[in-house]
């Protein structure tokens, strides 16, 4: 069920991108999409009543079935990339605001769509 939820999150992100003109809202919807995909990635590795892939005194490699560690590694990278893009996006948004005085792309587009 978690997979359906994550994909719906992705859809909400898409809806956000389609409907808004405001740049900050766009960056937020991108984050929602990233979030959706990340959850989906983790859900791919989910194993029913699996154990976190960390060896402890009670748990060693052959005893129990672990949750798939690879998606978790990938999701970590994907989160960090999402962070990078959001940081950059907000920086562009600030510069946009400083230059045009508004976050609304429609208004900027109208001014001089060079």
């Amino acid at each position: 069920m978690i997979r359906v939820a994550s994909l719906l999150l992705l859809m909400i992100g898409l809806y956000g991108l389609l409907s808004t003109r405001n740049v900050i809202k766009m960056i937020i919807s991108i984050n929602i999409m990233e979030l959706g995909v990340n959850i989906f990635i983790v859900s791919i590795g989910f194993v029913t009543n699996g154990v976190a892939p960390i060896l402890t005194s009670q748990v060693n490699s052959s005893l129990s079935n672990f949750v798939d560690p690879l998606p978790q590694a990938l999701v970590l990278t994907s989160i960090v990339i999402g962070l990078g893009i959001t940081a950059l996006g907000l920086a562009f948004a600030r510069k946009l605001y400083k230059k045009y005085g508004t976050y609304d792309l429609a208004k900027i587009g109208g001014m001089k769509d060079e």
Binding site: L14, L17, R21, M26, L105, I108, G109
Partner: protein, 607 residues
């Protein structure tokens, strides 16, 4: 002295000319004359090694008589026009580039005529196209060189498609053997025929593709128009020759239905040729600019050449080939004379000129002989080739083509006479009082061309013997030449005897004229004006809208150029639609398109 050494020496000479003209452009221009002369000499040297084939990296060449004949026609035009270069080079914006492109286009044409495989043919063809595009732009208008490039690009791209198709079917790129694979499939043969010949049609300037001719010839630099209309038009004839010989040699159209005894596809192209004769003549009659008029005359004569070559039999084919050289000489001379008039007076508009004969008698006589040949009047070369074509048509009973041919030849009297009377005869405007005759350097080409036209006219058998060899090479029955007479199934012509009798008649008239009393010399202004005294020469010179009644008849014909403009506007609209649809500054639209693409592809994939 192999063909390869000829081409290489020419390329080195072209490079030397380029370097020379960087130093001093006039010197470079003179060097173009030397190079084209060298080409003629070399062509004669390699005449005896016809039949051999050579190769140079991925170019392969084969020396054929027809290639030699076409190159001779081309080089004579280049050589005689080169004499004009030194006088115009100062006006060019890029003189060095002009000299280089002038020679490179010459080399390109020679390479093309001796090409053995499709790729060499195509490469030389394109080199000539883009070099001449950059020369034409040095003339009056950029639009005309743009239209010139587009129309030839249409032709060459479609021909490239045909070449690749044939290469795919036959497995070999060699022109002479590649078409053999087509004898099997009739449908494929049709496609290949119409696509392959398209480049030829676009270059000769046949009806739907004649749009660039008046623009390019009209506005090209004066010293390149003769080459354009005299020479480069003949490249198209070469492609027509290639396609006809190949298709006939392998009886590709053996079982396609025939119209009036001619395979249907050939007949369709010939009808196009006939239409272009009529269109060329009607449009030529209406022109005010002398160069545009001569350009339309090239369209009309291109039609004759195409019909001649496509008939591909003993008589008309020889007529077509002979018309090639007679038209080349005549139109080159005409353009050179008009160029000299423009050099002296600065304009080629007939309404602004008049009475040049009083200041430039030599140019006048040369022009007179040129137009006699262009109109196809007996003592000159034009008549012999038109006579052959008409006899050929009569022999095969092609009524409609003949009708167009008659209209073309009679019509040519009209449009040929118009520049004669408007530019040379009639009143001399005071502002042209002090212009001088063309200087010696310019007169040399005129004399050469006139003598050549006379020779072709009076002793046609000299050229016809070469054409007979071509007919043998092409595998058709060669024309019968007895001494100086041409014997055809339905007629005999002895051009020399016609000339002698014409001289005899002229002698009698001269004698009568001299016996009578000497007449009093009177100025041109002293004319019978039924009591209405006009003192300004311009008013007394009738040169604008010369054939008003005829022009009223053929009300403004639909300019074919609009067709091309409509297409380009359509392309621009689609481009604009694509641009506004797909790349707008708002990201939402692109994301919308991503979703649409995903949905379509998924549904497409699943169903």
């Amino acid at each position: 002295m192999t063909l390869i050494t000829v081409l290489i020496t020419l390329l080195t000479l072209a490079a030397v000319t380029y370097l020379l003209s960087l130093v001093n452009s006039k010197l470079g221009a003179y060097f173009t004359i030397v190079t084209s002369l060298a080409t003629i000499v070399m062509l004669f040297l390699i005449k005896d090694s016809i039949g051999q084939s050579y190769s140079l990296s991925f170019f392969t060449f084969k020396l054929t008589t027809v290639g030699w004949y076409f190159s001779m026609v081309m080089v004579t035009v280049y050589f005689t026009t080169a004499f004009l270069n030194p006088f115009w080079i100062k006006k060019m914006i890029y003189p060095a580039a002009y000299n280089l492109f002038f020679l490179v286009s010459l080399i390109g044409t020679i390479g093309m005529f001796f090409a053995r495989d499709f790729i060499t043919l195509f490469i030389c063809w394109e080199t000539v196209v883009w070099t001449s595009t950059f020369i034409i732009q040095m003339g009056k208008s950029r639009k005309s060189s743009y239209v010139y490039y587009v129309v030839s690009a249409i032709g060459s791209m479609v021909t490239l498609f045909a070449m690749m198709l044939v290469y795919q079917v036959s497995g070999t790129l060699e022109i002479s053997t590649a078409f053999s694979a087509l004898s099997g499939q009739p449908v494929l043969a049709l496609i290949v025929f119409f696509t392959f010949i398209l480049a030829g049609l676009s270059k000769i300037g046949i009806f739907p593709f004649h749009v660039w001719l008046p623009m390019a010839h009209g506005s090209a630099p004066h010293t390149f128009s003769p080459v354009l209309s005299g020479g480069l038009v003949k490249m198209g004839a070469f492609i027509a020759y290639l396609s006809v010989t190949a298709f006939a040699a392998y009886e590709v159209f053996a079982n396609t239905f025939t119209i009036m005894g001619i395979p249907a596809p050939l007949y369709i192209i010939m009808v196009l040729g006939a239409i272009s004769i009529v269109v060329g003549t009607v449009m030529a009659i209406r022109q005010d600019d002398a160069k545009k008029l001569l350009a339309y005359s090239s369209v009309a004569n291109g039609g004759y050449i195409l019909i001649g070559i496509l008939l591909y039999d003993q008589i008309a084919f020889a007529g077509g080939m002979l018309h090639l050289i007679s038209h080349a000489l005549a139109s080159a001379t005409a353009f050179i004379t008009i160029a000299i008039v423009a050099y002296r007076t600065g304009t080629t508009k007939m309404s602004e000129l008049g009475g040049m004969i009083h200041r430039m008698p030599v140019t006048y006589t040369v022009y007179l002989i040129a137009i006699i040949s262009m109109a196809g009047i007996p003592p000159m070369g034009g008549f012999v080739s038109k006579w052959l074509i008409l006899q050929g048509l009569a022999d095969r009973g092609l009524l409609f083509l003949a009708a167009a041919a008659f209209f073309g030849s009679i019509g040519s009297f009209m449009y040929v006479f118009r520049p004669l009377s408007a530019v040379f005869l009639g009143q001399l405007a005071p502002k042209y009082e002090k212009i001088k005759e063309a200087n010696i350097m310019m007169q040399i080409p005129m004399y050469l061309l006139t003598i050549a036209t006379l020779l072709v006219g009076v002793f046609p058998n000299v050229v016809l013997r070469v054409i007979a060899d071509i007919q043998l090479e092409a595998g058709i029955q060669e024309i019968v030449l007895v001494g100086n007479t041409i014997v055809v199934s339905n007629g005999v012509l002895d051009a020399l005897r016609v000339f002698i009798v014409f001289g005899y008649g002229f002698l009698i008239a001269l004698v009568i004229f001299i016996l009578r009393r000497k007449s009093r010399r009177v100025t041109l202004m002293d004319t019978y004006t039924s009591a209405e005294f006009i003192h300004t020469p311009e008013l007394l010179h009738y040169s604008s809208n010369f054939y008003a009644p005829f022009e009223r008849l053929t009300k403004k014909p639909y300019p074919v150029l609009n067709l091309y403009e409509k297409v380009s506007i359509k392309i621009k609209e689609i481009g604009h639609m694509a641009e506004s649809l797909f790349s707008s500054s708002k990201p939402a639209i692109t994301i919308f398109w991503i979703i649409i693409v995903f949905a379509i592809f998924f549904l497409g994939g699943v169903l």
